[in-house]
Amino acid sequence: MSTVYGMNDFQNCKNILDDSVFVLAIDNEERSFYAHKRFSVQKEKAKSIIVFEYDNCKLSAEQIECIKDLSKTRHIEIVPLPLDQASFIRELKRISSLRTATKFVIDISSMLTPYIFLIFKCLDLWNKDSIKYVINTIPFDYLFTASPFTSFKSYYGNLRMSEIFGYSGNEGITQNNNLYIFIGFEGALSLKVEEETTYDKLYIVNTLPSYYQKYKDISIINNYKLMISKDCEMMYVPATNPFEVYNILDKSLQNDKGVSIAPLCTKPIALGICMYALDHPNVRIVYPFSDKYVIDRSKGVHRSYIYELKQ
């Protein structure tokens, strides 16, 4: 059964922040400011605000002031975003409101995918019954430094595979089940996952329809080597709808059999995977981590959606 419902255009929503803890991350991308600026215009106020700050993208005084305006008490909690998972969990543990609040509004637009999984794991363990609204703002376009299809890169340096903490599944070293790679723009990531993950059968999941038609082309071109070089099955999920992702996984996967999932995809899809994984302990999430990420990957704002999650 799906635990995810409610999807609206963010522009049509009002009074979202009332009595909530507003959680967001800020980087240099325009989309990371979109939601809180709009709340500001609508003069919405949250109970408290948690801002995650990237090490290589410190908040300016002006940004801090702007965000403070959204809090009734003008108090905001700025939390560093360390790159290693354990340190991030340690930071989350220090935030008392994550355990006590009854309502959260979480803007995932500028959060790296593993952080999304870790935040929701915390909420699942500490504050399961809380109401959660999730905002995702889609950029107008991504930054391609050279030719459009192959130059997108979201990280620097080497990749290393790890499970996302809290999502190791329940089969440990004997894991040898199906692997679902939800592909994104970068072929290197999917190749890394495929190379280093034990699996029985490979499923490559693409988005359909994507925000723009060209994004599907890009992800296919950049993952083409994987598609043609391995015996795999293609699947499709909608790019903006986490509920459908959840339902598709629910229909496709068996509860009693382990499965590995690599969420290299859009954030709404990752959200759907996250919700599914929280409900199914047999799901294991693997991810290719890097030591450093590019912070300017997109420009402009296309649309913004808000998803309501309830238990």
Partner: protein, 679 residues
């Protein structure tokens, strides 16, 4: 030649090389595709029986894709179950008894290992390796019990009722909870599950780690094995073997742990370890004064050691692999006349390739002869010499003639007539002064070099086709060979399906196109997933372009030069680490023995070459020969790794002298665009 009877039903023909990675193959396919590397002598100190039953631990070493996983999986219990069916045996027990071994396979998957370490190190930094030992012991014990229940399930006469499980219960400190094998298995599974669930929660909840028991490796499993041997005579002389694959993924602390176990192995349970040739491997044990010693504590079975000397053994191995796959997947009888050598051709025909490239053009002769200033300035004499030395049916011979003329200190016209006589005598098999040298030059020394030179003159890709060529390019690596075959068959099914299915033969051009595409694609893929991928990509592109320049030398002074050397001790630490990574992924390959540094330099040093699968990218020879080698100093290596376009001085000199720098540079950009490195 036709492969008669190759494809009986053209509609149902499947590419037999689709299953590539042994990690993904189930035991049915592992058994179905099995070709014994032992039988063809790839592991010459071993036969299958020794590998199975030797009490001394064996480390199976080889590069990525060399077949380690296939071997380990083949000797594990699920494959034995498959073999029972294939051999028509009633019970797996008789297979296990006759093989004298039963194996349990575990892959040290990077994600699992790194997560386990990261989490349990935070729980207890000093004790986390004990937790790992205990976890592995629980899983291993559970696997042994799974085996018993599987046998029981298949063979009701297999008796497990009389097992005395008190010893195991005592080890687990659970005497009151365990009364039979079923309860033992459930109890162990519960302990394993505790680890998994704890791992998923601990960082979020700060729960303390309180397993019911901490086991040492083999403490419980040995007790189970002893009880099995006591109860079931079939197991009396059977060795239980723990198969640990991808050992290099273990951190140094865990490697030390396993090394200690290897050093003090019992005679009931042994270990087989699969690991990459290089990489972060330690021989240390947990005791700082004791190290693992080869042939004392363990035996080394190296899958790559014979590459230099026994290419024929690999050809034989690959030949069997290919044919077996055709038989297995397309359900052909082993007596049918199918032969992979007929599909791909046995060997390449360089004479024909050159003839196809030249037609009747003589530009290749002109370019050689114009390296002589006198001839470059005397068009009439140049034409006259060409008319004397030419052989319209044999471009290789006529190019060789041009080289003889160019190198002679005598009058060019005289030399032209002289070499023409020698050529004539050679082809007529007549005795004549100089024929022996001509034969050596034509048949061996310059044959391939002239072909690649002619390709460069007419701006054609060198063709890579035939079974022999694919074996060379595979560099002794089974997975690469299978990948090439897969790419070639796919290409044939797309471009020339009807002819392929009718004749069982694939054209040279289709083969070569598939080879080029695969080589580029694989290079790109590997560089995108290895550590320091960008630097390694620079290095290979730069070094490949150097060799490409050598292959275009109009005086053909460096026939088939494709090796390089550097003094590792002189390199910057970071550069050394990058090259070690390249070596561990078999992107560059070190010759097994030290060699003469280069022609004219008798010092001995380690020689390296790129993995031959990348040679088609640069249209260079796949043969590894002696002669001139590229000597790189510290600065060269650094720039080759970190600059996108760099030529060592020796190569720059060659390029400048022949004004071919521009071409090479253009070619490089052309290649770079194929690897997505837009700038």
């Amino acid at each position: 030649m036709q492969n008669k009877g190759m494809i009986s039903s053209t509609d149902s023909f499947k590419n037999p090389f689709e299953d590539i990675n042994a990690n993904v193959l189930d035991s049915k396919r592992i058994v179905e595709y099995w070709c014994s590397p032992f039988e063809v002598g790839l592991l010459s100190d071993y036969d299958e029986n020794k590998f199975r039953t030797c009490n001394v631990p064996i480390i199976l070493q080889g590069p990525r894709g060399s077949g380690k996983t296939t071997i380990l999986k083949y000797f594990s219990f699920p494959a034995q179950l498959e073999r029972t069916q294939v051999m028509g045996e009633k019970s797996v027990l008789s297979v296990i008894r006759s093989e004298g071994e039963v194996g349990f396979y575990f892959r040290c998957e990077d994600s699992f290992i790194s997560t386990f370490e990261a989490i349990f190190k935070r729980v207890n930094k000093e004790q986390w390796t004990d937790f790992f030992d205990s976890y592995i012991e629980l899983v291993f014990s559970e696997k042994i019990l799974d085996m018993l229940f599987e046998i029981k399930h298949r063979d009701s006469s297999f008796d497990v009722e009389d097992y005395d499980i008190s010893k195991m219960a005592e080890i687990l400190s659970a005497n009151e909870k365990i009364h039979d094998l079923d309860e033992l298995k459930k109890y162990i599974h519960k302990q394993v599950l505790y680890y998994e669930q704890y791992k998923n929660r601990v960082l979020f909840t700060d729960d303390s780690f309180s397993p019911s028991i901490l086991l040492k490796l083999f403490s419980l499993s040995e007790a189970i094995v002893l009880e099995i041997k006591r109860n079931n005579k079939e197991f009396e002389n059977v060795l239980f073997v723990l198969m640990i694959d991808e050992f290099e993924n273990l951190s140094l602390e865990l490697q030390k742990r396993f090394n200690t176990i290897i050093k003090f192995i019992s005679n009931i349970i042994s270990i087989r370890v699969g690991r990459r040739s290089e990489g972060l491997i330690t021989t240390e044990t947990v005791n700082s004064t004791e190290y693992l010693r080869e042939n004392h504590d363990y035996l080394l079975a190296a899958l790559e050691s014979k590459l230099d000397s026994e290419n024929r053994a690999y050809n034989n191995y690959f030949y069997k692999i290919a044919n077996k796959r055709f038989y297995s997947l397309n359900k052909m009888s082993e007596n049918s006349e199918f032969d992979i050598c007929d599909v791909l051709g046995d060997k390449e025909d360089l004479d024909k390739e050159c003839l196809d490239n030249c037609g009747r053009k003589k530009k290749h002769l002109e370019m050689v002869l114009k390296q002589s200033k006198d001839l470059a300035n005397n068009k009439k004499q140049l034409d006259e010499i060409i008319s004397i030395i030419k052989n319209d049916q044999n471009p290789i011979a006529e190019t060789l003639n041009a080289l003889w003329v160019l190198r002679s200190k005598k009058d060019s016209l005289w030399e032209a007539r002289h070499v023409a006589e020698i050529m004539k005598a050679f082809f007529n098999k007549e005795d004549y002064p100089g024929v022996e040298k001509y034969k050596l030059d034509y048949s061996s020394k310059y044959r391939y070099a002239i072909t690649t030179y002619i390709c460069s003159v007419y701006k054609r890709d060198k063709l890579y086709y035939s079974f022999n060529t694919i074996c060379y390019l595979a560099n002794g690596n089974a997975r690469t060979f299978i990948n090439y075959c897969r790419a070639i068959i796919s290409e044939a099914l797309f471009y020339e399906k009807d002819i392929f299915l009718k004749t069982g033969r694939i054209s040279n051009h289709t083969q070569s196109r598939a080879v080029h595409n695969y080589s580029r694609s694989e290079f790109d893929s590997i560089c995108s997933i290895v550590d320091y991928g960008d630097c390694i990509k620079n290095f290979i592109l730069n070094i490949g372009n150097c060799f490409s320049a050598y292959h275009k030398d109009r005086k053909v002074r460096y026939p088939e030069t494709n090796q390089f050397t550097y003094d590792e001790s002189q390199l910057e630490l970071h550069d050394r680490e990058i090259l070690k990574t390249a070596e561990s992924w078999a992107i560059i390959i070190k010759r097994s023995k030290t060699q003469r540094v280069s022609a004219g330099n008798n010092d001995r040093a380690d020689l390296y070459h790129m993995n031959r699968m990348f040679h088609p990218i640069f249209n260079i020879s796949y043969r590894i020969r002696g002669g001139v080698n590229l000597i790189l100093d510290k600065e060269d290596v650094n720039k080759l790794l970190h600059q996108e376009s760099y030529y060592p001085k020796a190569v720059t000199k060659l390029l400048d002298s022949q004004e071919i720098k521009h071409n090479v540079s253009n070619k490089q950009y052309e290649q770079l665009s194929l690897f997505d490195s837009e700038t």
